[in-house]
């Protein structure tokens, strides 16, 4: 009933609007303003252009500065600081171009509005000007490209040999985390071995898988390069850690990676922000299904000593009786296991170019 009333009101409003509109046209025909081609409205629109520029510009400036503090997620990685500088430098460059071009657009619109008796200036081309405004942006672009390229190759280059290795596996709708254990080698995994107690699909006939351990939180040491190896076991996901300025897709069938060096522990960041509940967060940033928006994990940056203590406390796969038992069953069913099928072999040929050293070996000698 109420819907019907609303509909009726809307229709009546529309009719009233239509009638008023018709009335306005008829009066303007009688008053003779209807046929005048360029009149008052031209001046009003020209004026509005100027008003829009001034008011809009002021509103933009105000809202930007008002929100500025909220739009900068705290930075906690080495490359993040460099990226931040590049971001705001580029913003300044495009900001200048923005102000100049928009100002010219609206000022010209106002200034060169129609005036009776004036004729536009017949000015069809000028090659010098064209060359100038081709070359200047080209030079600016070249500089930006060069800076971007330098940083990009540094960030995406090979991880240092002594990086701490963590593997993240995306699944609908959470993140699985594993560490290589004492031997510093991630064991073979195979998606055909996945079951309820073996989320990663560990191939436990591979010795290096036995001491791997899985966790729910991601712990990394401060001041030490961290190499994140990334997998997905169903659809695309993306590892996005805004505070570390890290992002990389998780692709089923194609392991990816990203390395970074955290600069601030969770506790330090809590103190700095005055927010005792602060945590570094990992968000999924590639649409992955119904609960995409809730696919989250927490990252804890520890002091190196705390990290080592935490690492030592974790219990390896071999201590997980459930997993060991169910592995036996699944691997027999699937006819898989070490040296079994090509699938397991393919998974074994990981993208590990470098052999990770003992946890924080460099720290230990320091």
């Amino acid at each position: 009933m109420s819907a019907l009333t609303i509909l009726l009101v809307l229709v009546l409003l529309l009719v009233v609007f239509g009638l008023l509109f018709r009335l306005q046209i008829l009066t303007s025909i009688f008053s003779g303003t209807y046929v005048r081609e360029i009149g008052m409205s031209n001046r009003i629109n020209a004026m509005l252009m100027l008003v829009f520029m001034v008011v809009g510009g002021a509103a933009f400036f105000w809202s930007f500065s008002e929100n500025f503090s909220k739009m900068n997620p705290p930075i906690a990685s080495v490359h993040g600081h460099a990226m931040e500088r590049m971001f705001w430098t580029t913003m300044t460059v495009i900001g200048i171009a923005f102000v100049i071009t928009q100002a010219l657009l609206f000022i010209y619109s106002y200034k060169y509005q129609h005036k009776e008796g004036r004729r536009a200036y017949f000015f069809a081309h000028n090659n010098t000007i064209e060359v100038i405004w081709t070359i200047i942006p080209a030079i600016v672009m070249a500089a930006l490209i060069f800076a971007g390229w330098k940083a990009w190759t540094r960030i995406t280059g090979p991880a240092p040999k002594d990086s701490v290795v963590v593997e993240l596996m995306g699944k609908q709708f959470n993140w699985l985390v594993r560490y290589p254990g004492r031997d510093m080698k991630l064991g073979v995994v195979n998606y055909r071995l996945i079951d309820a107690s073996n989320d990663f699909g560990f191939d436990l006939s591979d010795k290096s898988a036995l001491d791997d351990f899985t966790t729910t939180e991601i712990h990394v040491p401060k001041g030490h390069p961290v190499l994140i190896k990334i997998r997905s076991r169903d659809v695309l996901h993306a590892v996005y850690m805004p505070q570390f300025r890290v992002q990389m897709y998780a692709v089923p069938g194609m392991p990816t990676r990203f390395w970074f060096t955290p600069t601030t522990t969770t506790d330090e960041m809590r103190a700095r922000l005055g927010n005792p509940k602060f945590n570094y967060e990992l968000a999924c940033n590639q649409i992955c299904g119904k609960s995409h928006f809730a696919m989250k994990a927490t990252i804890i940056v520890d002091e190196p000593d705390d990290y080592q203590a935490w690492y030592a406390k974790q219990s390896p796969n071999s201590a997980n009786a459930d997993m060991m038992a169910s592995y036996k069953q699944t691997s027999q069913q699937a006819g898989l296991g070490k040296g079994g099928t090509m699938g397991a072999k393919a998974a074994a040929i990981e993208e590990t170019g470098e052999t990770p050293a003992a946890p924080l070996s460099s720290q230990a000698t320091m």
Partner: protein
């Protein structure tokens, strides 16, 4: 009929010298005979390019309303995540669960909004309308090269529309894996219910859509190359035609690649192949697929997807150039530079696709190459903006509704284009990828700008389409509402993006990092919904003016191009008499020494002795 075009007309080729024709008179009678066509052939299965253009326009408008309404629905969710949406139950039925929008349906809304706006509104509705309407009229042809293929182009689009529209109502919901339909999500119904029947319909619909685009594109290119009237060399073409021509070429070269991607995806979905699938364990089951690559799909998709954004924006650029020159009463500045930059953009648009994939696991070296190529595109784009500004400089501007939208286009194109310099930089894209910064960027630079181009085009060519004028005052209201609205929506969205808010999130409340902008999101939602309802001013104006608008004159804007030499409502065949020959470029506005402030293209130099420039004197006879 269109297929019996006079042979004498097909004397195109670049720089063809004017050839006198004598045969046109015979054909006049033939055209007159078509006046008493059955309405079915006149209004429905029409082969007249002008009718087909109107069909594309009105279908596109219906799609725009649907696409806009979908965005209002998901903006409600984003602005007021805590609110109950019970009142939408009559409309959305089971997609409202306990007063909340179903998160999968939210993704479906986002997906369909993108698909509809990019393909059905801004590709078919914009380029389909104006390429069809303006190419024959502005190059001086009686119709498209093949009227029949042109008709098929519309009806394939219609078929595609029907399928896509039906998919909104099926049990499992429409496609919901984002408009980019990345597999494996789009390949596996176990992963999301929209990837069942909804995705199948999406793919089938897009296949027909691509057929429609190709039929149209081949026609546009052929018409521009072969059916130009006497004297209409390529260097005398209006910039609109250059833009449509290059757009059609982009479409012909890139849409087949999307077709290939869609076909391979259909194979993966239905016939057990593994083009894009590998190592997948889902819904308690390990799939047999091995060796496929989801990244391969992204390459194929963006090989179309990137040129696609230029397919959307270039027709708007062409029309805006035309409208700015006409209403500033000034030649477009740097006509050849404008053509050159269009060609530059077209070429570059094919080699920048992987900038959508910097962080997808693609080799970082490729990232460097694509960053380089992507940022170069700023140069021709900049040239265009500077030329538009120089066109306004010392003009004598009439603010018609079309002109306002053209100026608005330039403003939005600048605002949205500049942030592309950030996103094209692979380093900065690590943080910005898939955040609201991207959403704000492309909504300004290709979404809103292209819409503004579309509106400018409708206001400007409405008199030629329907023989009546649209109401200017309503046009002004529509413009200011939309212009302010668009900025209020998308400027704050940049802030949200810089803060790292991920796109395609049903809600951000689960994250501390994304908790600070609840108010701003409310504001954006309110602005978006108001701006959407503002569009009904346009819809009203449009339909009111078709029947009740002020009657148009033959050339209401005092424009120079050929379409304004036709009768107020051109019949089938466009010119009742001989097709006018062309003698000069299309931008002789305010030429010193000339009587009027415009000289149409079909006026020979011999009649304008007082205004001819030195090199033009030789052409007088």
């Amino acid at each position: 009929m269109a297929t019996n075009l006079p042979a004498s007309q097909a004397q195109g080729g670049i720089g063809t010298a004017p050839v006198p024709t004598t045969e046109h008179a015979d054909h006049l009678h033939e055209h007159d005979e078509h006046h008493d066509q059955h309405w079915l052939w006149k209004y429905v299965f029409s082969q007249d390019h002008k009718m087909i253009a109107r069909q594309f326009l009105i279908t596109g408008m219906l799609w725009a309303i649907i696409g806009g309404a979908l965005s209002s629905l998901f903006r409600l969710q984003l602005g007021w995540p805590e609110a109950t949406l019970e009142w939408l139950q009559p409309l959305l039925g089971k997609w409202i669960e306990g007063g909340k929008l179903n998160p999968e349906f939210y993704l479906a809304l986002v997906t369909m909004h993108g698909t509809i706006m990019v393909f059905f509104v801004l590709t078919a509705g914009l380029s389909g309308t104006f390429s069809n309407f303006l190419i024959p009229l502005q190059v001086g042809a009686r119709d498209m090269a093949s009227g029949f293929m042109n008709m098929l182009s519309y009806w394939f689009f219609f078929l595609s529309s029907v399928i896509m529209f039906s998919s909104l109502f099926i049990e499992t919901g429409p496609a919901a894996s984002g408009w980019t339909i990345y597999p494996p999500l789009s390949a596996l119904p176990q992963a999301i219910s929209g990837s069942g029947m909804g995705m199948t319909m999406w793919l089938v619909s897009m296949a027909f859509f691509i057929v429609s685009q190709l039929l149209g594109g081949v026609n546009y290119v052929t018409t521009v190359i072969n059916l130009r009237t006497r004297g209409m060399s390529m260097s005398k073409l209006p910039l609109t035609i250059w833009a449509f021509f290059l757009t059609a070429i982009l479409g012909i070269l890139s849409f087949p690649v999307l077709f290939a991607a869609a076909l391979l995806l259909i194979f993966d979905r239905s016939f057990g192949t593994s083009f894009f699938l590998s190592d997948i364990y889902i819904a308690g089951q390990a799939l047999h697929n091995q060796g496929g690559s989801p990244v391969l799909f992204q390459h194929l998709f963006w090989f179309l997807g990137h040129p696609e954004v230029y397919i959307v924006i270039m027709p708007a650029m062409g029309m805006v150039s035309e409208i700015l020159a006409t209403n500033a009463r000034k030649p477009i500045f740097g006509y050849r530079a404008m053509i050159g930059s269009l060609i530059g953009i077209s070429l570059l648009s094919f080699v920048v696709w992987a900038h959508h994939m910097f962080v997808t696991g693609m080799n970082p070296f490729l990232g460097s190459v694509f960053m380089f190529l992507t940022l170069i595109i700023a140069v021709p784009s900049g040239v265009k903006v500077f030329n538009w500004l120089a066109t306004l400089w010392r003009g004598n501007i009439r603010f018609t509704a079309a002109m306002l939208f053209a100026i608005g286009f330039v403003s939005l194109f600048i605002s949205g284009g500049l942030t592309g310099i950030i996103l094209g930089n692979a380093t900065l894209d690590i943080q910005m990828h898939n955040t609201y910064f991207v959403v704000a960027h492309f909504h300004l630079v290709m979404g809103s700008s292209a819409f503004f181009g579309l509106f400018a085009g409708v206001y400007h060519w409405f008199p030629k389409m329907f023989g009546r004028m649209m109401d200017e005052k309503l046009g002004y209201i529509h413009f200011w509402l939309t212009f302010v609205g668009v900025y209020l929506v998308f400027m704050p969205m940049h802030y949200v993006g810089i803060a790292g808010f991920p796109r395609r999130y049903y809600s951000w409340t689960g994250f501390d990092a994304f908790s600070q902008f609840a108010d701003l999101n409310k504001f954006i939602s309110a602005a978006a919904i108001i701006a959407f309802f503002g569009q009904f001013v346009f819809i009203f104006n449009f339909f009111y003016s078709i029947w009740r608008g002020r009657r148009a004159t033959e050339n209401p804007w005092h424009s120079t191009t050929l379409e304004w030499t036709t009768p107020i409502i051109p019949g089938h065949g466009n010119w009742p008499g001989e097709i006018p020959a062309v003698y000069r470029w299309p931008y002789d506005y305010s030429k010193p020494g000339a009587e009027a402030d415009f000289i149409p293209q079909n006026v020979p130099y011999s009649q304008t002795a007082s205004s001819n420039l030195p090199y033009e004197r030789e052409l007088e006879d």
